[in-house]
């Protein structure tokens, strides 16, 4: 499969701050790629390098088989960008801005423009200064979605949208995927990433900590297991088993022993064996949510309460 974005070992310093510290990112043609990381992890810096606004201090980066810094003008005919924090020209109307951004890219599909304005329920006659944050974001989103761009770089594009509009956005991204276009979606909305993205890259402090399909990532991560057994379960001696506090469900009166643990993939068979030995009465297991993946990589403890 063709690679649309290939960055390896990207380094970017701002004064003494190291924003990117050897970042790798690979986005393949036709996929919707989730780009996750805590605030300040370097997501926007990466996107700005991909746009040729910043020059990387180290590493290599290719975008659509070109150099994003050298070939910016040619490459930008083929991509569209939605910034996370949209500032509009205060005295241009939304409609004018949509047309302007389209023309700067080399044209936009008029029919699609009208369709998107209708779907996102935008009043294009308002002045830029009069829009709310969500509406400002819609203006730029419409301009990007109505373009024929083969690559879309979306930097937290739904941070100001209401749930209805978020749903419209998801439909639009699905449509883009069906049309074979590539999307790099930086987002904090994990449900959105889980619903939309084929593959995910998680970065932290300017480094790539994980990337792959959601299934791949889950495979690497602990499964939550809750069970009730007739005998006490002996899990001591197994590495890779992490006890979770027991929740209140079931009540104290029960005579069954309850177990609530997170288990690394390698020891899952051994844990199941011991549960069986202890006379398992009920068992639920659940793959980690993206949120758990996310929190783990962000270095915050997993939530104390894990429900099945």
């Amino acid at each position: 499969m063709r690679t649309v974005i290939a960055a390896s070992g990207l380094v970017k310093n701002f004064g003494r701050t190291r924003a990117l510290d050897g970042l790798d990112l690979e986005v393949r043609a036709g996929e919707v790629h989730g780009f996750l990381g805590p605030n300040g992890a370097g997501k926007s810096t990466t996107i700005r390098i991909l746009l040729g606004l910043l020059r990387a201090d180290g590493g290599s980066v290719r975008l659509l088989d070109g150099d994003p810094w050298q070939d910016a003008v040619q490459l930008h005919r083929r991509l569209a960008y939605v910034p996370g924090d949209v500032t509009l020209w205060p005295n241009l109307t939304g409609g004018e801005i949509i047309d302007l951004l389209g023309r700067l890219r080399g044209g936009l599909d008029r029919q699609r423009r009208e369709e998107m304005i209708k779907r996102f329920d935008l009043d294009p006659t308002k002045k830029g200064r009069a829009y709310s944050k969500g509406n400002r974001q819609k203006v730029v989103l419409i301009a990007a979605l109505a373009s024929g761009a083969e690559l879309l770089l979306l930097d937290e594009p739904t941070s100001g949208l209401d749930p209805l509009m978020e749903e419209v956005f998801r439909e639009c991204v699905d449509q883009l995927r069906d049309e074979g276009r590539t999307v790099l979606l930086s987002s904090h909305v994990l449900a959105e990433v889980e619903a939309l993205c084929d593959r995910v890259s998680i970065i932290r402090k300017g480094r790539n900590v994980e990337s792959g399909t959601l299934a791949d990532l889950r495979h690497l991560t602990r499964t939550t297991v809750s069970a009730e057994t007739t005998e006490p379960v002996v899990l001591a001696g197994l590495t890779g088993v992490h006890e979770l506090p027991l929740d209140g469900h079931g009540g104290p009166s029960t005579e069954l022993h309850r177990v609530h643990v997170q288990v690394d993939p390698a020891v899952l068979p051994a844990v199941l064996q011991r549960l069986t030995d202890a006379g398992v009465r009920s068992l639920t297991s659940r793959p980690p949510t993206l949120e758990e993946l996310f929190l783990r990589h962000y270095g915050i403890d997993e939530p104390a309460e894990a429900t099945s």
């Binding site: 910043l54 930008h76 005919r77 020209w89 949509i98 951004l101 080399g106 002045k127």
Partner: protein
Amino acid sequence: MSPFAGTGMLVRAAVRRDRIQLIAWVAGLLLLLLSTASSFSSLYPTVDDRLAVARSIETTPSFRALYGVVYNPTSLGSLVAWRLVGGLVLGLGLMNLLLTVRHTRGDEESGRAELIGAGAVGRLAPIASAFALTGLANLAFVVIAAVGLTAMGLGAAGSLALPLTVAVAGWVFAGVAALTAQLARTARGAGGLAGAALGLAYLLRVAGDAGNGVLSWLSPMGWAQQTRAFADERWWLPALSLAVAGVFAAAAVAMAARRDLGAGVLPDRAGRATAAPSLSGPFGLAWRLQRGVLIGWAAGFAAVGAVVGAIAKDVGSFVDNSPQMADYIRQIGGEDAIVDAYVSAVLGLLAMAAAGYVLQATLRIRGEETSTRAEQVLAGSVSRWSWAAGHVVCAAVGTAVVLAAAGVTMGLAHGLRTGDVAGQLPRLVESALVQVPAAWVLGGLAILLIGFAPRALALAWAALGAVILIGWIGPALELPQAVLDVSPFTHTPLFPLTDVTWTPLVLLAAVAAALALAGLSGLRRRDLGP
């Protein structure tokens, strides 16, 4: 919570934020005042010298128009007041209106006011802190100037009256700006309206003093002059200025107390749903963003040109009366026909104002960058070169348009009075256009800074301030030629006084182009971002 709660805190924050700007404004205007006083004491050392020059001023409407009336011909201080009151009110008024807009509508537009308003800060604290801030700056000016003038041996009453009356007259424009900040929705709009009021005050004073003086009474600048510092001071006039400033302030406060944050009084109309074909490409966008500013400047220049042209004919009667003043005119303007010297001197001042336009227009490039709007343009198929060049071309052509506007109205007005429109119009338009390359040099400097030192853009304004000081008082102070030569305006030929010499014009244009090209190449190489 009191509507003024938190004002003191906001004032301290504003002083911290603007400390360099405040010092530059106050120090620059003090330098202008004190150095002029010292140069006049060597130009007109005796009472006879002063009487002679005052007599000639009295009989020359155009000089009365430019600078007003000398109220006490025997006093050195009165001559200083005659020469500077208008300019100081203009300078202080500009300082007050810019600071006021910045801390009221400017903060509202950027969203900072929302953040501040969410704290334990009263609704009226921002506007009150703007008045306090400008009040403190004016107070500093008054105190230092009064001490300085007294120390130079000028009378104590006049030494206080002069800075006090110009400061309160200038403070009226803090009130005006506070009011326009309620009316307009953007800082640029509020500043433009207040600036137009300041220009109107100047023109009323000019037209009044050229005629029977009635119109001057409609202008705070007129009140400042009528205070008659160093000539039997009328202290009730500064009090009048203060009262008028208070009326504007009260009106602004009343509006601010009633309206929503972020809203203007003038409603937004719906606009086009689709873009006109002209709004296309980086040049189309740059023109769209720049045209409003250009139209405003050109209108202002046209108005000044008309007034100056209308009174130019009267300057001729002056030269016979006062050899000293004629010397002075030659120093600031040239050495041949005195009307031409006058026109050329006025155009020299306008050229420096036009440099202000060039800076405003070119610095828009950086404004687009820091607002991140540039990112959206450059994410399109647009090179940095053409993105920036759109603004540069607008600024360069705009400079010529602005100055030509003054030349056209000046030529028409002067031509109508002398019955020689066909001769004066092209001649004065050419005189105005001769000033263009020197103004471009400051634009070139701004672009250079944008390319290589985008965080030091205040240097561009500092350079303009330095150039204005050199042009205004440099010759009178008999500064060494090497210092005068630093200013590009020193090299502009004094046409129509002398022939147009092309070499300095071509060189100035070449310097401007080289600076701009270097700046643009720096802009292409550096990281973009706020």
